[in-house]
Chain length 494, copies 2
């Protein structure tokens, strides 16, 4: 920099809270996950899409993931023309905008996949970032259960493609229409008041794991006082309705067909409920045809999915360990993603129904789950390290590196200025397995020295004196240059 | 959505100015470019890095690409704790922050590659977006010309990896120290005034193409009045200095060694100038060793690079057509990227010199250049289309699609609700080459109908009457199900 600038105060090198740098291993592993998912979507004829990071705030609307805070949670700023822009908080709202903007130009069903950073202006915590990558596939314009079955199948196939074995994951499917139907049969009205009641019922069911059947029963009826003395008002359902809803929570079985017939009894004559059952039947038929059994995709009435915008089938992908709990069920790592049908998201732009269904997973979340399951393959191999023993031979070193790369092996020449001790320390920190050294004498003889750094480190442990080390020079050999690649390969193959 | 919500005003589906949606073809082509570049960097032992979209504003500092507007051009907002955060405008400033933040943990030279969106809050225009993808490689901690030679070599190898032939690109290298040295020899002082003069000289040289030698000569001396009568004050150099600078602009030849010896004469006894010449010599040696001739990498004193932060070797990658201009030189598409040495960018955090050198290119810019050069490979093949002739056979259709995919061919089942006419229209809009149709009778016989849609469209042109069409049913055949894959392959291979 020129000397005209006054010396500025030194800024502190630091990141904003909740934003992370990703290491090489994580980047490579995440890229592999995304490539695996993309390959599944691509093989099914989905097309990639990329939308920008910014959308107009009114376009994103209030479809925020957290219903309780509809107006916060985004990063927003004003453009030059005073319009508010927000960074996208998911990939679904921008898709709805894209489809509405290009409606006539798109052949429908429009099926796309996309991965990209999304942004949440929330309090960060451990493993909870304000920027993270989601990977989505969606199908817009198809109202039937075939499109839902396809998304569910894709979810299961993506889990297989990223390296999970059967028994390590399960897609669990529910349908929003079922509970609606049960409540309709139980006389919960379709009015605004009924909507609040439905939400209370959903939230009560979502607490089944935590509060047990009795707690949920109380929340469905009059209400419940917890240990701290706080009182939660109940949904105020009649006893018969409570019975139906509790029956709903226990309607799932390992047999998908059995689950459907249980549900058919519960929904009674409700048209909406019966339509929900028919959709599950259609999904079951397609899954059976392609050989996806209940171990990979189950029907499970406990699946709620927080998002308010779902209108039909919903599903979550649970990752499982082979550790069993007291009841003999596999211990859950938890949901790494999910999806479902949302028929109203595009219609808000167009004033006409545009059916849609999709699947989304968090890439980091899946990656850390895979790590816990031990389902991650090993890391990238460090490059062969070519030390600079004699600066006048730099050109030779670069030529040797080219030769090694031409054999498909990563290679680097030391481009720093340290002496040979410093260079070997660098090679060690880089995790290099092989170092190549060539001085002027060797060059004149057409030879190079190849060191196996891993073997060398092992042997060093067994050698007691410096003198012994120097005289024996273990794990290092002088070879003719035209044998170099062969020797490198044989060391790497060990 | 529930009915409780008041019907909102319909938002208009639109994007903020200067932000784009990317189409499937562009996404695939860009991903291929990035993968090709990454593969080159990876083979040289560089490691991937990802930094977040946001950085603290003081961390990004004033190292904006456009020196004339140091405080504008970024998207910034205030975090909850009142600190200003900005979206990154390039990948270099975040790298400097990353290296400074993790200085002791990093083995140096630290060599990383990264691709990602960068954001410029500027007036958008045709082909000028406010969000675009850059692809960078940098080497931090190596002061010597070997690191620069490596970056230049990488730039040339990336161009080859993305599919450019020799003669379609040229990396053009200059060194900031040369002009500094020439001006030093010519008595331009090293003071603040001298710095302004150097900047004026750089800008004058940058106008050589547009103004010619006479115009530049005027700008180096007293100044120049343009056609509109506007007067630009000159750098005020003495005649002998002007002669040296003009000599510098014409010092390049096709022979790299010859160029260096021309430059050695011009820099005289200036230490800085001689150091610049020595660096070019070192770079030349390494390039020669790995067989990179002047057709791929040339020394060119007209390369300026706008950025103020460069301190040594600088280079640009020019894409060339085989169309020749009047002087027999290839017509230039222009620079698609470049780089150079910037030894002060990390030191602003640490107060100690941290040498660095890098290469960056704009992915969209390279892609559109490749399109103009006809160097892009053909597009992704659309999926085989399986129509839904009979809804009761949906499961069968999905199973057939699985079979086709298992043979490595993209396939999709129609998940919409249109009739067969609508379905074939959809297949057509999707660009499908093959459609599969199977009704109940065929299913009972174990057969499917395979339509070659491309051939069918051709034949339709030659057929005059509807009757003839219906009776001959061209480009369509009924085959046994176990022959389906074979027939599909034979059609696709045509």
């Amino acid at each position: 920099m020129s000397k005209k600038n006054k010396k500025p105060l030194r800024p502190k090198a630091r990141r904003p809270r909740g934003f992370e740098d990703k290491s090489a291993d994580v980047i490579r592993a995440e890229a592999k996950l995304i490539a695996a998912a993309f390959s599944v979507y691509d093989s099914h004829g989905f097309e990639p899409l990329q939308t920008p990071a910014f959308e107009y705030a009114d376009v994103l609307g209030k479809f925020l993931p957290d219903e309780d805070r509809p107006n916060t949670g985004v990063f927003a700023l004003r453009d030059d023309d005073e319009q508010w822009m927000s960074l996208r908080y998911d990939l679904t709202a921008p898709l709805a905008r894209y489809v509405a903007e290009n409606f006539d130009a798109l052949a429908k069903p429009y099926r796309r996949y996309q991965a990209g950073s999304v942004y949440r202006n929330e309090k960060p915590g451990p493993g909870r970032f304000r920027e993270f990558v989601q990977c989505d596939a969606d199908s817009v314009g198809a109202p039937g259960a075939a499109a839902d079955a396809e998304m569910i199948m894709l979810a299961a196939d993506v889990m297989r493609a990223v390296g999970l074995k059967e028994g390590q994951y399960q897609v669990r499917v529910n349908n929003r229409k079922l509970l609606d139907g049960i409540l309709e049969s139980a006389g919960v009205s379709n009015t605004e008041e009924g909507a609040i009641q439905r939400l209370q019922v959903l939230r009560a069911i979502d607490k089944l794991d935590r509060l047990g059947s009795d707690g949920v029963e109380a929340l469905l009826g009059e209400g419940r006082e917890d240990e701290s003395g706080d009182y939660t008002k109940g949904a105020g359902l009649a006893p018969s309705a409570i019975k139906s809803v509790l029956g709903f929570t226990t309607a799932s079985s390992d047999d998908r067909g059995k689950t459907i017939s249980n549900l058919e009894k519960l929904v009674g004559n409700s048209e909406r409920g019966l339509s929900g059952c028919q959709e599950l039947t259609d999904i079951d038929t397609i899954l059976n045809s392609v050989g996806i059994g209940p171990d990979r995709v189950a029907f499970d009435t406990s699946i709620v999915r927080g998002l308010g915008y779902y209108t039909g089938p919903v599903f979550e992908v649970e990752l499982l360990t082979d550790i069993k709990d007291r009841k003999g069920r596999p211990v859950q790592i938890g949901s790494i993603g999910g999806g479902g049908r949302y028929d109203d998201l595009v219609s808000r732009f167009r004033g006409q129904a545009v059916p849609a269904t999709g699947f989304s997973f968090g890439v980091s979340r899946l990656l850390s789950a895979l790590e816990r399951l031990g389902a991650l393959e090993n890391k990238s191999r460090p490059p062969v390290f070519i030390s600079v023993f004699d600066r006048s031979l730099l050109g030779e070193y670069f030529r040797m590196a080219e030769d090694i790369r031409a054999a498909g092996i990563r290679a680097e020449v030391y481009v720093g200025t340290g002496n040979i001790t410093k260079q070997m320390k660098y090679a060690d920190r880089r995790g290099a397995q092989i170092a190549i050294i060539m001085g002027e004498d060797e060059h004149a003889r057409g030879e190079v020295t190849i060191k196996d750094l891993v073997l060398g480190a092992e042997m060093a442990k067994a050698i007691s004196s410096n003198e012994e080390w120097k005289s024996s020079r273990p794990a290092q050999q002088s070879v003719a240059k035209d044998q170099m690649i062969k020797v490198i390969k044989s060391i790497l193959e060990k």
